[in-house]
Assembly symmetry: D2
Homo-oligomer: 328 residues x 4
């Protein structure tokens, strides 16, 4: 039985607790949250102990921690958990600063603890299947990757200002997906961006509509586009054009019903809410964590993947600000 | 050069003239119509002579005739053309009476002239491809065939009363398609029907909504359904479930554009008008006629196919009227 | 908290226990099974008591029973549970004999206990959405319903002989779906059937390929086809053609990935296994049971729906055996 | 009757002659080609006179010319036809040099003759419908445009070396489409490219895999990607993400048949050959030319559109060569 301590009982903490309940060989042993009511509620549902974060990390009854607290607390929690010898599952981004992530890597490597960066989309069954087909050589070598990612609606401007910007907050998922699929590290990054959805986002110094082009050493190309608005749901599509064919991941729609009338044929919007859209991915990523920690096998994506995605997001931000491509 | 005489310059005659203009090695040599203006117009466009039907059939400058006149004139024209030794392309139905079709068969066989019954849907590139895949064994043996066929809107009741009823006027196309795909002759027919679209059609003694079940000697099953109404266009679909898989022909839509918004994803209606929907089929059937007559190869569907479809339509009508299955 | 006693801990019992675990306000309080190990295993997972069926039904700690035992035991369990005043959730078919179901109805009505017949497909989110659109008038009145239902592969012949035949064992789901969607009771039933998948099924006196046509008093038509074989997965499709349009439920595929190569574009098979295909339906039907019992609202489908579906299956069997349509 | 002189009787000349034959109010009056046999063949089919290019342009029996000769001859033919007062339909590119196109504009404007640049894709019924929906405000303002364009297979390297490179030879169509849809002129161009399909193309100094990002003054973004290889046919897709929704143009497949088996569901490749894929577009562009010349209405795309597309292709080439974005 893997005894897991949940650091953070907010929205994502509740999701992880629900996943753990559906996984054999794991349980929520302890929970902590800066808001006592949140911790109490989750404890009531799971039967876990409520502890403060230091006690949770120190507890001999906790084998592994799931970090779902605000980003600026990750650094200290990772260091503490590593020192305590716990396996670590950490929400993205690990930190807003690549240098501070490098510190975390040092701490984790020194302690020799397992670490997983929670890029949940890699575990979406559709995207995971696409990657498996690609890795199996079904379409030969990847040549052009197209990632289209649009949120149903923008966050409040107050969130934007502390988010690190669209490249670090939103596109980071797509940048990780690009790395997952390209099979090579990107060597150049070029970004453009505009505030078309909400002018206030532009005033706040950020973009809400953005596009990035990545290239790799062997000449593979990846185009990503993001928008903070999509009237038709949470738009999440990927396609890989390869030497021998193409792989495409379509959207996941709310239902399979088609309605026909004089206007033609209509189907459902894409699932709107990310927790619903990626429900299976959240379950699968936790399953991977539990299995790999139990069996001592490799955790992927690891802490270095968290750093690399952050470096790409930093480079994209810089390219957008300067109007010039950035080399890595 | 195959010199073709067009008997009938109405809507379907114009379509056939247009097809002949696109086919190498054939031309419209002569035209006739009970309405002189119709014949004159088509002559002006094609450069053909205007003749009365007897003169057209007798003309040594005519190698083949295309019969596109009202159904009740087919019998005499077929007999005359056969006697004159012309190749014959005849619109469906050959005649409303199976016995009179048998007379035509006798005349055609006695004369030894090529004869083609114009079941255009067999030549639709999609349906033709489906049949070719089936014949090639792509899904093993056919087991269940489902044919869904719906007109955009009902004809006037005045037409209904002289049409022979929905089974002979509309479903006959689907009954021929069933024969084309089943690979065996149907041995039982069971029909149901209602007047749901227009009560006047029911008063006139016909149905506007109908369904038929066919079975064959080896136990294959075919279900057909018809409606005289479809708000979303001319609905023409076929699927064949076989021992090794399934083949499906989807509708042909007006365009490929998909529009997404808060209601979801929308595509175009099915093409509404049968002349537009089956444009490629009309061209292909005439190409087949011209090529087969020129090369002396087999014409299919032939005159017996016209008889068999009519017998199935008669049986379906009888089943509907009696409420009992009919054996063939 | 609704305390549920599970009668039967086989495959379907385990599914229901899993559903109950995900539903707030309900728990598995007791379990029973003729095979002690099955009951023990489920008890270990849920924390329920193991009792024999009589004790379970008698237990004051049980508010409601879920009957997932072999069909021939339903009759006695329903009578006992009704007498004990328990709410009853019963797997389909209630019984192989319509007369014995009528006895059960009497017992349930005399006791005044809530009763739900577990036609799970009504709770599939896609089919439920289709029915809701239809009920909301999105396509006007239903005119032609087409239900296509194919199992991935046939059961062993040994199962067939005790199954009541394809109409009672397999098509009963589609017959219930037809009632769910037609909005009127069927008044005539015509059935055909063949043994095309496995000749041994024919030798055993059953069909493995079958089709039924239903009509209603106002002239609505429903065509159903079944096969015990589908190489491409568990094929479950419905379409309703109405006066104002059409509603269609497509298959649920294993994933959303499309692969393109020189052969064209390929997508995943339909989900193969019924427990996986209808996972959401099993959860939703149990949620409905728990909610309706708790709130005292109407349970649907009820016990009469179980009887009506069985009567349709009986009529279809009779039609197939006699070759004649059957009136209801 | 518009009397058209065809300059060039190669593959595209034959296409245009076929289109003219299907258009009322127009005919091929004269043809010319450097290869006499080509001119003679087309004359035999159309009944046109064979003339040399100077005589054709001078002929009082010619109202309009269609220029389908090699690109390096366009400049002189345009000047001569303009001087002779003929309406001009010219294949793309008008010329490889933007400056020489400017000379042509001067000549055309001085002569006041109608001029159409043959960007056929604007006339594809699907793309034209997409543009009409966009112009009608169906999805609000365009924000992100994605154009995916892949040829089935690369041309021989010998062609590459005289083609002007992938941006001028292939992507120019997509750059024109971007202008057609963006509603604003692009102000920055950034290009990347690689030789992944055929290393010889790289040795020849060109790319066979390329991507461009365009931005406009108001911040709209367009991403284009090209490959000289697509195993699944001629891949031609467009999508426009707007403030109110999305419009997408799917590929045109060879047929509508879907085959299902244990591997899943398979549909046809995209139409392979550009003449077949854009058959309707070639007809529609000629129809537009004939109608606009006859009615004296505006021809679009005009000669300036030819220049602007060339300037974008030049900028993309420069960006690719320098690795820097180019401002316009």
């Amino acid at each position: 039985m893997l005894n897991i301590g949940l650091l953070g009982c907010g929205r994502i903490g509740v999701v992880h607790a629900g996943s753990i309940a559906r996984i054999e060989g794991a349980r929520v042993a302890a929970v902590s949250d800066a808001v006592p009511a949140a911790a109490d509620a989750l404890a009531a549902k799971t039967g876990a102990q409520v502890l403060d974060s230091a006690a949770l990390i120190a507890s001999p009854e906790v084998d592994a921690v799931v970090i779902g607290t605000p980003t600026d607390t990750h650094y200290d929690l990772i260091h503490a958990a590593a020192k305590a010898g716990k396996a670590i599952f950490c929400e993205k981004p690990i930190d807003m600063s690549a240098d501070r992530i490098r510190d975390c890597i040092e701490a984790v490597e020194a302690a020799g603890v397992p670490f997983m960066t929670a890029f949940n989309r890699r575990f979406d069954p559709n995207f995971a299947h696409l990657q498996a087909c690609l890795a199996a050589g079904d379409i030969g070598d990847a040549e052009i990757i197209t990632i289209l990612s649009r949120d149903p609606s923008p966050p409040p401007v107050s969130y934007i200002t502390s988010s690190g910007g669209i490249f670090r907050d939103m596109m980071i998922h797509d940048l990780d997906m690009a790395r997952f699929l390209l099979g090579e590290e990107p060597t150049t990054v070029f970004a453009v961006g505009s505030a078309l959805v909400d002018p206030e986002i532009g005033v706040a110094g950020d973009a809400d509509t953005a596009a990035v082009t990545l290239t790799t050493v062997s000449g593979r190309i990846c185009q990503i586009s993001n928008s903070r608005r999509a009237t038709y749901g949470y738009d999440q599509r990927i396609e890989v054009h390869g030497s021998g064919g193409m792989l495409r991941a379509a959207n996941v729609q709310e239902h399979t019903i088609e309605t026909a009338n004089a206007r033609g044929f209509a189907t459902a919007p894409a699932k709107h809410f990310f927790l619903e859209r990626y429900e299976a991915a959240y379950l699968a990523e936790m399953q991977h964590f539990v299995t790999a920690v139990r069996d001592g096998t490799v955790l992927a994506p690891g802490i270095t993947d968290g750093l690399r995605a952050q470096m790409l997001a930093d480079a994209a931000s810089q390219s957008w600000e300067t109007g010039q491509p950035v080399k890595l």
